[in-house]
């Protein structure tokens, strides 16, 4: 049996990794939960943010600036996508939306590969995140420790934005009955435009935050996409709180299974997803019957 200190270490690591997963999935769930579009370009936007952040960090040595520019570029890409392409697909069947966003993902990833090459790139932790912290017997990278607060803080801000502001209200009303909202004299199209951009921006932001933890590789986006899907399916598709719950559950499953046998950790994640789909298809926090 694992020792108590190993158990606590893995619990803590699961929480940190889980909140990061929640942050990574947030962009996907924002777009799906409000627009009903399954954005397969989510992982690619993550990659765009990560690489732009890498380039800015390398030239300016400012991590904060890197995060800001990475998120901003993802926002602009997201807005262009919505206006130029995704808007035309709101009324099309989901498989069309998946195909078109998947196509966009391939294009974005290949552009990144063209610019930065296929070799893994290492992004150093920011100065304030370098070094290690001692938590009892656990030695933990300082930056990973800090992402706990970065993820939690960002998720809180997003929650307030979506559930405590007027724009959030309009968007959520728009998805329930866009015709009715339009009749009330509200520009739903513009609200959708903003939401898609926001989702893309959060994906890019997560990419820059995650960059110092992993190494950058153009194909990392596809894994991010899969991880995000698992998280939102467990938590409840389209539910923002669900993404947070799903993220933490996924993080704990990965960490705690790895404590016994690492080769089963990914399997257990998908087992958990399958169990959720069988016994609670709408996800843990999902609402039954929602479009």
């Amino acid at each position: 049996m694992p020792s108590l200190s190993l158990f606590l270490s893995q619990m803590f690591n699961g929480l940190t990794a889980g909140l990061l997963l929640a942050l990574i999935s947030a962009g996907l769930t924002i777009i799906y939960g409000t627009l009903g579009v399954v954005n397969f370009a989510h992982g690619a936007l993550f990659v765009v943010g990560a690489y732009v952040g890498y380039a800015v960090y390398g030239t300016t040595q400012s991590f904060v600036l890197a995060v800001a520019v990475g998120a901003l570029v993802a926002l602009v890409v997201g807005l262009i996508l919505e206006r130029g392409l995704v808007r035309l697909f709101y009324d099309r069947p989901p498989e069309d939306q998946i195909l078109v966003t998947f196509g966009v993902a391939i294009i974005l990833v290949e552009i990144m590969r063209g610019i930065f090459g296929g070799v893994n790139l290492s992004v150093p932790s920011p100065e304030w995140g370098a070094g290690i912290v001692h938590l009892g017997s656990l030695i933990y990278p300082k930056y990973r420790f800090e992402t706990l607060f970065i993820s939690a803080g960002t998720l809180l801000v997003l929650y307030l934005l979506l559930y405590r502001t007027k724009i959030g209200l309009i968007v959520r009303a728009g998805i329930e009955d866009s015709l009715m909202v339009s009749m009330l004299g509200i520009n739903v199209k513009r609200a959708f435009f903003i939401v898609f951009g926001l989702g893309a921006m959060v994906a890019g932001y997560a990419g820059t935050i995650d960059a110092p933890i992993v190494t950058l590789q153009p194909d990392m986006g596809f894994r991010v996409l899969i991880d995000s899907f698992v998280v939102v399916v467990i938590g409840g598709i389209g539910s923002f709180q669900g993404a947070i719950v799903g993220g933490i559950i996924a993080g704990e499953i990965l960490s705690l299974t790895a404590m016994f046998d690492p080769s089963y950790s990914q399997v257990m994640l998908f087992v958990a997803m399958a169990l959720v789909l069988i016994f609670r298809p709408q996800g843990i926090m999902g609402v039954e019957g929602r479009e």
Binding site: S3, L6, V119, I139, I213, P262, S263, Q266
Partner: protein, 460 residues
């Protein structure tokens, strides 16, 4: 998981192809005389051998095609890119009859048997299924006479299997698993690189001497044939040569990005040595994160089977003191014992804008040159004869010295360096990451022929 499933798919592929081929043959018979007479004419010209693989259709013109199955995306894409460079350099030198390549293939004049070698490259995506689809395209559409390239053993084994059925020689590039020239060996597959057994047999006594005996090792292992067989070889040899024990084995999916939970286990395992079986992007990710978890400060790192690219991604600060084997390191060009290494490095740097070659470029270059030599010695592209020529054990001078294929399992006796990461202060230039502490004689570390149960199949 994926790898296993894909292997099954790979087996189905040729069956369909055979059916397609049958249908094609029937169609040709129906069309009748003109096509058949055209074919038999060229067959006579080639010495009246029964058609096999793409012979004689693939060699009826002035050019001959080699299909490259390289990883341009996925966790091994950096290596795939280098492989393509190596193949391009070899093809260029073969086509111009350059003196450098004639060191390995002395009968070469211009091209391969006088035919211009044309390359078709595609992305195998580090997935056996995609690689086999790609090879199918090369063999059926491009009439390829050679398929070459791999970075994953799962891919290499699937391609060997497929190309063997298609009777088209397949030249592995990188593949570390013992199965590739062991249990899963094929008559038409050849491995020009070093692999798990050779690497671990050579490295274990060196690290036992340099790092000490009775160390406790923790392993990071990618979950597929390469990872499992290489970990086993290193465990066996390090136990025998140094009394090392394994205290933690972290088996994880190929292409994992977050190693935190594995590293916490390792930090808690009481290990004093980290043995990284991971390759390509996985080794970059895992070692980088091991450093962040404070593990590198407490443990020595050994990489039994390393892509030399690792150092470019991680930097000297992290790589210093790391022990590894790789298939080639550019400073061998400075050793007068290896004139071929200097020629190879110089030619590579000239062609690719001053970039120094990595080991995967070397293996690709060597593999293609050895194939060309086999064809020249056979005096024909007739696949069974090319295979027999490659099996003949004729010794050639490669960039790392003498090299040849063992007839019984198609494993190359190829020399390779054991390296140690240099301190940043000792580096003479930005690529000077490693010190070569020994060049291993490949022949001396080959396993007994029967050890991994290789049974080569039929020629025709």
């Amino acid at each position: 998981m994926n790898e296993r499933k894909n292997k099954g798919d790979a087996v189905d592929q040729p069956r369909r192809l055979v059916l397609k081929g049958l249908a094609g043959a029937m169609g040709a018979a129906a069309v009748g005389v003109p096509i058949l007479s055209g074919m038999s004419f060229s067959a006579v010209a080639q010495g009246a051998k029964a058609p096999i693989g793409n012979y004689p259709a693939g060699v009826s013109g002035n050019t001959v095609v080699a299909g490259l199955t390289v990883d341009l995306t996925g966790p091994y894409s950096a290596q795939g890119e280098e492989e393509r460079n190596g193949y391009e350099l070899a093809a260029e030198q073969l086509n111009s009859g350059a003196a450098q390549i004639r060191r390995i293939s002395p009968l070469t004049k211009k091209g391969v048997l006088g035919k211009t070698l044309k390359l078709q490259a595609g992305d195998s995506e580090t997935k056996p299924n995609s690689a086999v689809q790609l090879a199918t395209r090369f063999i059926t559409n491009d009439k390829a006479m050679l398929v070459a390239g791999s970075t994953s053993s799962a891919v290499a084994i699937a391609l060997e299997n497929y190309c063997n059925r298609e009777r088209t020689p397949y030249m592995v590039a990188i593949s570390g698993s013992t199965e590739t020239t062991g249990e899963k060996c094929q008559r038409y597959g050849f491995r020009p690189c070093w692999y798990a057994y050779m690497a671990c047999k050579a490295l274990a006594p060196v690290v036992a001497k340099e790092l000490g005996k009775n160390r406790k090792a923790a392993y990071l292992i990618p979950d597929y044939t390469y990872g499992h067989t290489t970990a086993k070889q290193f465990k066996d040899f390090s136990a025998k040569d140094g009394g090392w024990t394994s205290v933690s084995e972290q088996v994880h999916p190929l292409g994992a990005t977050d190693y935190s939970s594995y590293l916490i286990n390792i930090a808690n395992s009481g290990a004093d040595t980290l043995v990284v079986i991971d390759y390509g992007a996985d080794s970059v990710n895992s070692i980088k994160q091991a450093k962040e978890f404070g593990i590198l400060a407490k443990m020595k790192v050994v990489v039994p089977y390393m892509s030399s690219y690792l150092a470019n991604s991680l930097g000297a600060e992290t790589m210093q003191g790391v022990y590894a084997t790789t298939n080639f390191w550019w400073t061998m060009a400075e050793d007068p014992k290896y004139p071929g290494a200097k020629e190879f490095v110089d030619a590579y740097m000239k062609k690719f804008g001053g970039k120094r070659p990595q080991d995967s470029a070397f293996v690709a270059y060597l593999g293609m040159a050895l194939w060309a030599d086999g064809v020249e010695r056979a005096g024909s592209f007739y696949p069974p004869e090319v295979v027999k020529a490659l099996e003949a054990g004729v010794k050639r001078e490669g960039p790392t010295g003498q090299v040849w294929f063992r007839g019984g399992d198609h494993q190359a006796a190829v020399n390779f360096p054991i390296v140690r990461g240099k301190k940043p202060a000792d580096m003479r230039n930005k690529d000077d990451f490693f010190e070569v502490i020994e060049v291993v004689n490949g022949e001396s570390v080959l396993p007994p022929l029967e050890l991994f149960g290789c049974k080569l199949g039929e020629y025709v």
